[in-house]
């Protein structure tokens, strides 16, 4: 589906559906504002630019983690995936019943949003994990915090239920025999949301809330940490799966490129997410003494499967772009000139993939059993995951919203040239933040405390790394804040100086353009990724080995 058809289908959506999607996007952007401002404060404190009390700092950290990871990403992706089902499934439409169910979901998400905010204002600072029984110390505020997450889970469940019913109905009506690969992937995403919310999340949060309120938990002897770990394992696939689905759509609406390998191949690739979620879960238990060593070894091998679907979709898009663009001009890099670099949606897509590449290299180092045990609680973790949460995921969401918001509102896109620069600034920030953060983690900077001085006995190198973390963090927030602000302005006002979507650069490739062109560039990128993982693993090992061993403490 090329840009024009995508826009046309969005414009044709009934006003009630536009309002529903708009409400979800509004929650997402409000969460982005709350979490983004909180993140800026946290990173400035971590870098030593400002100094807050411990309590205040953890309030900001809790807001940053909870509102960006849970409310921004999941609300935005739920709205996007529902949009894809409506746009890419012939005959799909919301009925008054499904629309009502989705609205209930939206209201529950909004109520959870408010409850979490009130709980943090009242002093509950359990970060995104809401660790139990630690959260008991916050009393009512702690209960309110857990209830907020329960409402968010139920809300997402209802939106996902709506999406699945909307996708299946055209098959029941005899309108559709086979879904498009995008509808199929959307359905799998919605299915994973259901498992994560009504099963995994409720198995963690409900018994904890019952126990906190003095009731008998529905599960006897429940283990919150393990239950939360399983939920989080499911949960952290969803943003990246949603993002690569957005990449796939973005490639088509900005260049006209469809997969050169065909719809069935794409569907098979997307189904890999469904297949790898459970088997890769063992890597969360590397530190569990009860898990036998041989299972940890199997888990370490299986953990490498975590990134396979994401790499596969990324390579599929890259191969299709390369093969089609080569029809205009051959040459090692000449084909790149024919991609729409002045289109902010395409820049967001390209930078999201560049960010995922950096994050992928580091993630595949940290996820190995021996490194996980060493680095799992260090700043290396926030260092690498911002490549994904901000670079790969948030930029992708921005990129597709650049197409969706003007189409839904009929407004012109505000300041497209400025918009087009922001993905590059954001990813530059992500790389500075990520590399400095990972190196800081290798030297031992912890991630679960924000006081890095340790009464003056911390190594001096920590300060230097954290200054770069601060600079990168500020650049990331600035780039993404300007992009988000311009999108919100586009949503709210039709500014005459803006650009109509049809005026944005579009490559207009066709699948037939790929004939006879070898997408060798994809092999180069895959080789770089594999070599990067090897080099980064060896580098990490040598770097950590070279550090002086220092110990402080007292014995009996």
């Amino acid at each position: 589906m090329a840009a024009q058809e995508f826009r046309h289908k969005l414009e044709q959506l009934p006003g009630q559906d536009k309002r529903l999607l708009g409400a979800l996007f509004a929650i997402a952007f409000t969460a982005l504002a709350v979490g983004g401002i909180a993140g800026l404060v946290v990173v400035m404190d971590a870098a030593g630019f400002i100094k807050l009390t411990y309590q205040k700092l953890f309030q900001f950290l809790t807001l940053h983690a909870s509102y960006l990871f849970y409310y921004w990403i999941y609300s935005a992706e739920a709205a996007l995936v529902l949009t894809f089902i409506l746009v890419y499934t012939k005959g799909a439409r919301l009925t008054s019943t499904t629309r009502g169910v989705a609205w209930m979901g939206v209201l529950l998400i909004a109520a959870g949003f408010a409850l979490n905010l009130i709980a943090v204002a009242q002093g509950a600072v359990p970060t995104y994990k809401a660790e139990y029984p630690l959260i008991k110390q916050y009393g009512t505020a702690g209960a309110m915090f857990l209830l907020g997450f329960i409402m968010l889970s139920l809300g997402l469940f209802l939106v996902a239920l709506t999406g699945i019913a909307t996708a299946i109905k055209p098959k029941l009506d005899g309108v559709v025999k086979e879904w498009s690969s995008i509808t199929f992937a959307s359905l799998v995403w919605m299915g994973l949301v259901i498992v994560t919310t009504v099963v995994a999340a409720l198995l963690a949060y409900v018994p904890a809330l019952q126990d906190l309120l003095g009731m008998t938990p529905v599960i006897k002897n429940f283990n919150y940490s393990m239950s939360w770990g399983v939920m989080f394992h499911n949960l952290h696939y969803l943003p990246i799966m949603g993002a690569v689905l957005v990449w796939y759509v973005l490639a088509e609406v900005t260049t006209g490129v469809k997969s050169i390998f065909g719809e069935r191949f794409s569907k098979g690739i997307f189904s890999l997410y469904l297949l790898v979620v459970p088997p890769t879960s063992v890597y969360h238990m590397f530190l569990e003494p009860s898990v036998p060593a041989h299972i940890k070894v199997v888990g370490s091998i299986l953990s490498l499967g975590v990134s396979i679907p994401t790499i596969a979709v990324g390579m599929l898009i890259l191969a299709s772009l390369h093969a089609c663009a080569s029809s205009r001009e051959k040459g090692a890099l000449a084909w790149l000139r024919h991609l729409p670099w002045r289109n902010p949606s395409f820049s967001a897509l390209a930078m999201a993939m560049v960010s995922a590449l950096g994050g992928g290299v580091i993630a595949n180092v940290i996820i190995q059993e021996k490194f996980e045990a060493l680095l799992g609680d260090t700043f290396a973790v926030p260092g690498y995951f911002h490549f994904f949460t901000l670079g790969a995921v948030t930029l992708a969401i921005f990129g597709i919203l650049t197409q969706i918001i003007p189409a839904l509102t009929g407004h012109r896109l505000y300041a497209p040239s400025l918009l087009n620069l922001m993905p590059y600034a954001t990813v530059a920030g992500a790389y500075i933040f990520g590399i400095a953060g990972v190196l800081a983690g290798y030297t031992g900077v912890p991630r679960k405390t924000l006081d890095f001085s340790f009464q003056g006995i911390a190594p001096q190198s920590w300060d230097a790394y954290m200054v770069y973390v601060g600079i990168g963090g500020i650049l990331m927030v600035a780039g993404s804040a300007v992009y988000a602000l311009l999108l919100v302005l586009t949503a709210l006002r039709d500014i005459p100086s803006g650009l109509r979507l049809e005026e944005l650069p579009f490559s207009a490739f066709k699948v037939e353009d790929a004939a006879g062109n070898s997408p060798w560039f994809t092999l180069v990128v895959v080789s770089l990724l594999i070599a990067g993982v090897y080099i980064a693993s060896i580098g990490a090992y040598e770097f950590i080995k070279s550090l002086p061993i220092a110990a402080a403490g007292g014995g009996h």
Binding site: K90, G91, A92, R93, I164, I168, K169, P170, K171, L172, D173, G174, V175, V176, K177, E178, W179, F184, L187, V188, G191, I194, V195, V199, A200, L203, N223, M226, S227, G229, V230, M231, N234, R264, K267, G268, S271, L274, L275, V277, P278, P279, S281, V282, M285, S290, V291, P292, I295
Partner: protein, 69 residues
Amino acid sequence: MRSLDTKLLLLGSMVWILMAIYYLATDIMIEGARVWAAGSVIFFIIFLSTWYAERRGEQKRREGEPQNA
């Protein structure tokens, strides 16, 4: 079962149930086993709904009564 959609959904739910059995058999994490088992049921329900919808849709097409979007 004609479509690739149903085949992949069935395969997915099978992987989830196998993982639930593996976790139970090795006794490494009951919390994981619960979620994989429930997940397999959820994906099996999605598979069954899709399979049924395809059958009914096929019947409607054969009867020449396709519903217009």
